[in-house]
């Protein structure tokens, strides 16, 4: 199958696809070695594979890589700039959110998108935005807290 060019975390990559259904998730993980994006279900049910396409959260297991051509793809590895963590990543560490940690890349990608859309999300906003991301370990309470604390940090730094 044809080679395509993908822009991931600000860099262009040429990758060869198995077929035109080849999901972005497996291109990121297998071809580019960006294994921070996780596989959990393969059918847009768990959110572990969430990445940003032009800034909007997308389940990379259910998007063919060819559909991402020409878009800016951001993965968990591309959030921190020059080693400086984002407010969301910092909040995740400060509130010790992870248990096993497997869902957390997807949670952080969703949370980062939420905070771009809504500066001060309520509990209800958070619940409804984040419900596509499963956490089998049940870290939901801490995710809520961390999102609010990141919101505070972001709003503080903006003013």
């Amino acid at each position: 199958m044809a080679k395509v060019k993908l822009n991931v975390n600000g860099k262009d990559h040429e990758v060869e696809l198995v077929d035109d259904q080849h999901p972005l998730l497996w291109v990121l993980r297998d071809e580019l070695g960006l294994v921070g994006t996780k596989f959990g279900c393969g059918m847009a049910q768990c959110g572990a594979c969430t990445v940003h396409l032009n800034g909007s959260p997308t389940r990379s297991c259910s998007v063919p890589a060819i559909a991402a051509v020409g878009q800016k793809i951001t993965t968990i590895e591309g959030l921190a700039q020059n080693g400086v963590l984002t407010a969301v990543q910092k909040a995740w560490i400060d509130h010790d959110v992870p248990q096993c940690g497997y869902c957390q890349a997807g949670q952080i990608m969703s949370a980062s998108a939420l905070l771009r859309e809504k500066k001060n999300p309520t509990d209800a906003d958070i619940d409804s935005y984040m419900q596509g991301n499963l956490c089998r370990c049940g870290t939901y309470l801490r995710i809520r807290t961390a999102i609010k604390s990141a919101a505070k940090a972001l709003n503080g730094s903006a003013s």
């Binding site: 297998d30 596989f39 990543q89 096993c100 049940g138």
Partner: protein
């Protein structure tokens, strides 16, 4: 009636049972900590490469005997004769580099229970290390030097606590000794804190890094010479400390088994019969081999053991997508002659018939005379049913294996997210036919322990590791990552066994519990008997009762527990607080039925029951969950009283809110919990709040401890509404669209409180979970007057989302 307890129904594999037995021998369950106790009886110190200090422990003789009995297929089982003294191996626990970096080694797998950070904290506390100087490393998997290395049974903390304290304290003592020598002052005048040694009188100080090389030249202290801190001097223990791997997790660093990538690695998928036990009759292999990216496709016959290698079709491809898309085109005809025909409908019918007969076929425990006590008393009868559930770890099962041909003896290398790494290693090595070596230790097989994306007991069984090894060998010795799809993972689990229990209880005219009769209806292994010396071919564990002494066996003047088992083939295994997670639901729900019949306040009723212990503590059984040797009534009473206080039990609640209370002891943890729920007209249950009071002895990391409890409550609530349906040996739920794990909106407020006690610490992966389910069900009863006697609650028309 025969009184043999079915031992096939053990709910943990030998490695964990052995550790539990060891700890029981050591702790006797109830002794408060008074000082350091360790079977590791000598320490060894050496210089690191490039200077610095390396502190290692020689395995004590007792521990060495354990290592010899490491489990494996056909390997020695626990309970053998004590081993003769053996040469002693050493292992590094603490390393201090001349530049001041401190490396602490965590010997057990990290499954999300926070053990890596906890082990680091215990050592760093005694070492008086500055936390930011500390790096924590996963130890190599080597039971000959580290002893048992596994995550299961909430045993990591209680089994390693004293060793790790001694490791930290010994290293500190050596740094002090080195400074005393250098400054020529008495050790007693020297203090330490934050990785610095000080002599106040002369106003001198040196960093640990500066002293490390000199300390390494001194003789190591004996364990008896090492003094651990008083609790009042703790600086790190009990504080909230963020997980050591968090920075790597939030930036997407490769940590998990699924993240492993090797040069020339292929990706494999493995299709097994949807009904366990089926064989491949034929498959369209030629067609599959021609698909893009596929390098090979073949049939594995397997060895007939469910926990090792069952028959199936392997597809090996250049990358994951090539493998997954080829799997969709795979057509297999199965020979189901010997396959599971299990049916939940049929099992339920069997159970109801068995229950109608009164007592079960085997008697597990008898105290007093229940039949006489039931005469003329106020009695309650009930039949409880709970379905099968899956572990559904978010990281699907996977393993990378590399079988390497070598004229000097073939080798096997495994990278795995496994809870009992040595079992995985030896099982895989055995199936691919590596040279067994001494004590079946398979010296040519290595396992690299990876972080685990959720365990919950699933990765105590390691068939995926065996499959990966067999596929790598058959594919000609290329490194292969075996990936389970979510569908593979949900339909080929070692499920939390469903089960049934018929109960009858009595209260006297004062409303006091006088008699309790339980008839457990559960499962044993439906595959043929084990070959001599071999393991059961099937994987049925976890269906039965935690222990004959499980509460309320010793708290009821008249008590009888019987059991009827029927064979199934569906693999079952340990699932977070195995045995306990369903026993607690049955016992604590029925206890509430009795207090309700007696028109008593449930907290008072429960406290009264714990006040009427019938016999002194007898047979062990405490760590695994049984109420026998471990449950301490005073601790139960204290947690119940505290949860009553904190939850506002019996006080006015917001309109439409109702409370339920439950207690359970397992894994050395005493937990009392109060659920506050409301139920709407469509029978949707909202859990507003769970108040949890636990006594697990001292807390190592408060942040992680609270996280575990919050997670346990959410897991328990989620699981009340979950089941896997089994018909004709097949599992119906294939992915998260039908196996609907709870999502964020259901997460309640969880108020966690730990009693400050001096009992030995225990692990927290499990014991907070069991009482949460019955507390919620008791609250549902309070709200609706409808008793939940069937799980999932959806079978009674309730929902949680």
């Amino acid at each position: 009636m025969n009184s043999v307890i079915n031992t096939e129904n053990e709910y943990y594999p030998p490695a964990i049972l052995e550790q539990i037995a060891l700890m029981e021998r050591e702790s006797q369950g109830s002794a408060p900590v008074t000082g350091p106790v360790s079977r590791r009886n000598f320490m060894k110190v050496s210089a690191g490469a490039g200077g610095g200090l390396v502190l290692a422990f020689g395995l004590g003789l007792g521990e060495k005997a354990d290592a010899q009995q490491a489990p494996g297929p056909g390997g020695p089982r626990p309970g053998g004769a004590p081993a003769a003294p053996q040469p002693i191996n050493t292992n590094a626990y603490v390393r201090i580099a001349p530049d001041g970096r401190i490396t602490l080694v965590s010997k057990n797998p990290e499954i999300g229970q926070g053990i890596k950070t906890a082990f680091g904290i215990i050592m760093a506390e005694e070492l008086d290390a500055k936390w930011s100087d500390v790096t924590i490393e996963q130890a190599p998997i080597d039971s000959a030097t580290y002893g048992q290395q596994f995550a299961g049974g909430s045993t990591s903390i209680p089994s390693a606590y004293n060793t790790l304290r001694n490791a930290g304290a010994a290293a500190r003592a050596m740094l002090v000794a080195a400074a005393a020598k250098q400054w020529d002052v008495p050790e007693s005048e020297i203090t330490t804190s934050e990785s610095v040694v000080r002599h106040a009188a002369s106003n001198r100080s040196l960093t640990y890094g500066a002293l490390a090389t000199a300390a390494a030249a001194l003789p190591a202290p004996t364990t008896a010479q090492v003094k651990v801190k008083d609790r009042k001097d703790w600086k790190l223990m009990g504080k909230r400390i963020s997980g050591f791997d968090n920075p790597a997790l939030v930036t997407g660093k490769p940590l998990f088994g699924v993240d492993v990538q090797l040069p020339n690695m292929k990706v494999a998928v493995y299709e097994k019969c949807p009904a366990v036990g089926g064989k491949v009759a034929s498959a369209n292999l030629d067609e599959i081999r021609k698909l893009p990216g596929v390098v090979d496709a073949f049939i594995l016959e397997g060895n007939g053991q469910v926990a090792a290698l069952m028959p199936g079709v392997a597809i090996v491809a250049n990358n994951t997508w090539a493998a997954l898309s080829a799997k969709k085109k795979l057509k297999v005809t199965w020979d189901e002659t010997n396959a599971s025909k299990d049916s939940w409908t049929a099992l339920t019918a069997f159970a109801k018939e068995a229950a109608a007969k009164g007592a079960g076929l085997q008697e597990l425990k008898k105290v007093g005379d229940v039949d006489a006590a039931f005469q003329g008393a106020k009695t309650v009868e009930a039949f409880y049913t709970f379905g099968f559930v899956s572990h559904a770890t978010l990281e699907p099962q996977n393993t990378t294996a590399w079988y390497q041909k070598d004229p000097a003896g073939d080798k096997l290398e495994i990278w795995g997210s496994v809870q009992i790494p040595d079992s995985a290693r030896t099982a895989a090595a055995n199936v691919v036919g590596l040279a067994a070596g001494e004590r079946r230790n398979f010296p040519n097989a290595t396992l690299h322990q990876m972080r685990i994306g959720g365990g919950f007991g699933r990765r105590i069984n390691n068939e995926y590791a065996v499959e990966a090894a067999a596929i790598s060998k058959q594919a000609g010795g290329v490194p292969v990552k075996l990936m389970y799809t979510r569908e593979d993972d949900l339909t080929h689990d070692f499920y939390r066994a469903g089960g049934f229990q018929a109960l009858k209880g009595a209260v006297d005219e004062k409303g006091k519990l006088t008699a309790w009769a339980g008839h457990v209806i559960s499962f044993n292994d439906g595959f043929a008997a084990a070959p001599p010396g071999g393991r059961q071919p099937g994987g049925v564990q976890g269906g039965g009762w935690p222990s004959p002494n499980e509460f309320p066996a010793e708290y009821t003047p008249n008590y009888r527990l019987t059991q009827t088992l029927t064979p199934i083939k569906t693999p079952c295994g340990p699932w977070r607080a195995p045995g306990s997670n369903t026993a607690a639901w049955v016992v604590q729900s029925f206890m509430h039925e009795l207090s309700t019949a007696a028109k008593r306040d449930h907290a008072e009723f429960l406290l009264e029951v714990f006040g009427q212990k019938q016999a002194p503590v007898v047979a062990p059984g405490g760590f695994g969950g049984g109420g026998g040797g471990g449950l301490i009534p005073e601790r139960a009473v204290a947690t119940i009283k505290a949860v009553v206080e904190r939850s506002g039990w019996g006080k006015p609640l917001p309109k439409g809110h109702f409370q339920g209370l439950a207690f359970h002891f397992s894994h050395q943890g005493h937990f009392a919990e109060v659920a506050e729920v409301s139920v709407d007209s469509k029978k949707k249950v909202t859990l507003h709040k769970m108040t949890v009071v636990g006594d697990i002895g001292p807390i190592v990391n408060m942040s992680s401890a609270e996280n575990q409890v919050q997670g346990a409550v959410i897991d328990a609530f989620s699981t009340l509404a979950l089941e896997v349906n089994i018909e004709n040996g097949r599992i119906k739920e294939q992915n998260f669209d039908t196996y609907k794990l709870a999502r964020m909106p259901i997460a309640p407020v969880v108020d966690v409180h730990f009693l400050d006690t001096t009992y030995p610490p225990t692990g927290l992966g499990e014991p907070a979970l069991p009482p949460a389910g019955p507390a919620i069900c008791n609250a549902i009863y309070a709200a609706t007057r409808e008793r939940i006697r069937t799980l999932p609650i959806t079978r009674q028309g309730f929902s949680i989302a």
